[in-house]
Symmetry: C2
Subunit: 421 residues, 2 copies
């Protein structure tokens, strides 16, 4: 089925420049983009327009790091650093997801919030609880959003209510993997192996999870080098490994091109080389890094090395699911980093947009651009109320929307060719 | 006229702790708070309730630094640092305010945006144009907001359309001062002397402005130590002064307790002493400081010295008039500063709230608190849609609102006892 979308089209082909097509056309066949045009090719003439807007049409945003259960604690408890925050705030909240009726309510609200946001694809941590994780997966399938979702695995350093034993953890993970494997391969919701982070996952559990990732060919998500106390804890637990990144790579948790690691603030040069070698996706989470006093991530290093990078809201370390806010903050923190590291060029707006779309989107396949063959994930932005009194270029309208718009400006949202609201 | 407001009351008496009164009462007579109560005193029984809410009642927020004309360029051009941004982006936009019909439209939209925001009192820069500044003042009076407003004075280093000569600049400034002086002393909109910043104001003009401030007993607003290139420029122009702060103090522009200086990122210890001596109010503008690559302001130094501090949106260096965003970012940047300056304790939520209310409010008189004798500036916050699934304390509800709420949550806004929407 062919659909034509007409509007002011903006997307990212390369990191440092936006592609802008005023009053252009996107032809979409089924779930994929067939082409983008300044004038409608003859072959499409007579096709009716699925969208005809004076607003902007841009790719949907990708959120590479969300804790769904922490949606209920977002915007609170930020006086603590990572480790005490986990123990005193986050883990007790996550324990409540053993109650399926609590999960029903909380995950219902989370998915509704995500659906109304700019995000079309996300990497999502649930909790250790298999049943409420299934529920979250069902709700995401109903929403039309694209997502990788994982039950969290943790068999040490957690509150008693969240502590699993290794066998139970693996058994439940396999049940979820098998259940989702039975889906159509085009299903938009897929499983991702989710060891919480090294301090909460024993070597034995990590090894088993690494084997599952290999056997099923599925991806892995976790946390890496977020906080100095966390790093000290990791090295105390794993004197057998060279560094934090090596723990994951030594235990098979960095499948090539299929691992996404959040934060990466304190990676050494050797650790960055491992990320490069294993083609790891880095999820940069500036809001969380600020809220939890983690530090400013040296993003330019990763960009210069050609390491894949995207953005993560890290709700509840981050307080908002709006990726626009994270784009703005990524740019802002990179500028502040530059004031003390003048060799480290600040992130440009085009680069931040690339991270939120094509950069992060690459974790989900051909996602995040309007180039031919890409899945059509899109936002139609009605920016008519963001009045400027002055004429603006398309690039300025997009920058203005990202800095000053809100989800009230989203007039339509599409995932893999389907309108989801 | 007595009015009783009932709700969950939160305000700041001291910097590091919130005062919270669940289901309490505020008695307001005319424009001032008469008292705050856990249970309604007998003498008020039978009075009808002006507000009866299950939401929060908090003081209105104070924005100590806004450029009204730059509202039209907010959220754009942030790839530049301060000096090129002024020359290439801001000054051309400000030139358009010579056209009164343009100003009518742009200032109309700005004041409408400010009215719908959390801000009840503001310090506002206009442009050099007297007529459009009068128009802005009229619109602010109609809005019911409280504000100090000044025509900008600049007689060097500006684009030709913004350059004044000294005599013209002083004559027009005096006309505006005299016009506003004729108002009732309770008028909520007042004049503030507004030399743009040292690089754009000659010694002679600064001296004349300093005399006006003294003669009329009115306050002064300007910019101080925002950016390293700016500081170098100031010292090139004024070898006769010890430092940037001394330029203002030497030329009479720091009237005691009546000057507000934005930014103050790079003040030396000696300069901070001058601020202390002259009881200068510091307007901390974290969003602008990030957007324009200015740097992280060492806020803790000022707090430890007991220097008065408040928050400024600095629109258009900042992109949003929502002071909640600036509170969150002030906390976030103070945490990131702490990661590299461990002696510098991060800003607590209570301290940020104090800056946005009683701290900044002190520039306007008894403003920013619900203590007896304070002007009743208030926001009624309906936070029922910020659902948490878990029971929250009042302090948590306020923190949650600041981090995740929006102006849609403002159910009522009061300035000096009057409901303005």
């Amino acid at each position: 089925m062919l659909k034509i979308y007409k509007g002011n089209i903006l997307f990212s082909e390369v990191p440092n420049r936006l592609t802008a097509i005023p009053d252009g056309y996107i032809a979409v066949r089924g779930r994929k983009v067939e082409g983008v045009y300044k004038t409608l090719p003859e072959e499409y003439e007579g096709c009716s327009l699925a969208v005809d807007t004076k607003g902007l049409i841009i790719p949907g945003f990708c959120d590479l790091h969300i804790h769904a259960p922490q949606w209920i604690t977002r915007g609170m408890g930020y006086s603590m650093e990572l480790l005490p925050w986990l123990q005193h705030y986050t883990f007790p909240a996550e324990e409540r997801f053993s109650d399926i009726s609590f999960a029903e309510k909380a995950y219902g609200m989370f998915v509704e919030d995500l659906k109304k946001s700019e995000t079309t694809r996300a990497c999502i941590f649930a909790t250790v609880h298999m049943d409420s994780t299934s529920l979250l997966i069902e709700k995401l399938k109903e929403s039309g959003l694209g997502a990788y979702v994982g039950k969290v695995n943790m068999d040490r350093n957690a509150t008693p209510g969240l502590l699993e034993n290794k066998e139970e953890s693996i058994r439940e993970t396999m049940r979820l993997i098998e259940w989702l494997k039975a889906d159509d391969e085009n299903s938009l919701v897929k499983y991702i192996i989710t060891p919480r982070y090294v301090p909460s996952t024993t070597r034995e559990l990590m090894e088993e999870l690494g084997k599952l990732a290999g056997a099923y060919g599925i991806p892995v998500q976790s946390h890496l080098n977020e906080n100095r106390s966390e790093i000290a804890l990791v090295m105390k637990f794993h004197p057998e490994c060279r560094d934090f990144t090596s723990v994951y790579s030594d235990y098979g948790l960095l499948p090539e091109g299929k691992a996404v690691m959040a934060h990466c603030i304190y990676n050494t040069a050797e650790e960055i080389n491992i990320l490069k070698e294993r083609d790891v996706m880095v999820a940069h989470c500036p809001q969380s890094n600020a809220n939890l006093s983690s530090g400013i991530m040296p993003l330019r290093k990763y960009l210069d090395m050609g390491i894949r990078t995207g953005l993560g809201s890290d709700v509840g370390g981050g307080h908002s699911l709006n990726i626009s806010e994270h784009m703005a903050l990524a740019i802002e923190l990179s500028k502040l980093y530059w004031t003390t590291h003048p060799e480290s060029k600040a992130l440009s707006f085009a680069e931040a947009f690339h991270m939120a779309t094509k950069g992060g989107g690459s974790f989900f396949g051909n996602v995040g651009s309007f180039e031919a063959g890409y899945e059509f994930d899109a936002l139609v932005i009605d920016d008519s109320d963001l009045d400027s009194v002055m004429p603006l270029s398309l690039e300025e309208r997009l920058e203005r929307y990202v800095y000053t718009g809100s989800r009230e400006n989203i007039a339509g949202k599409y995932v893999a060719g389907e309108r989801i609201f």
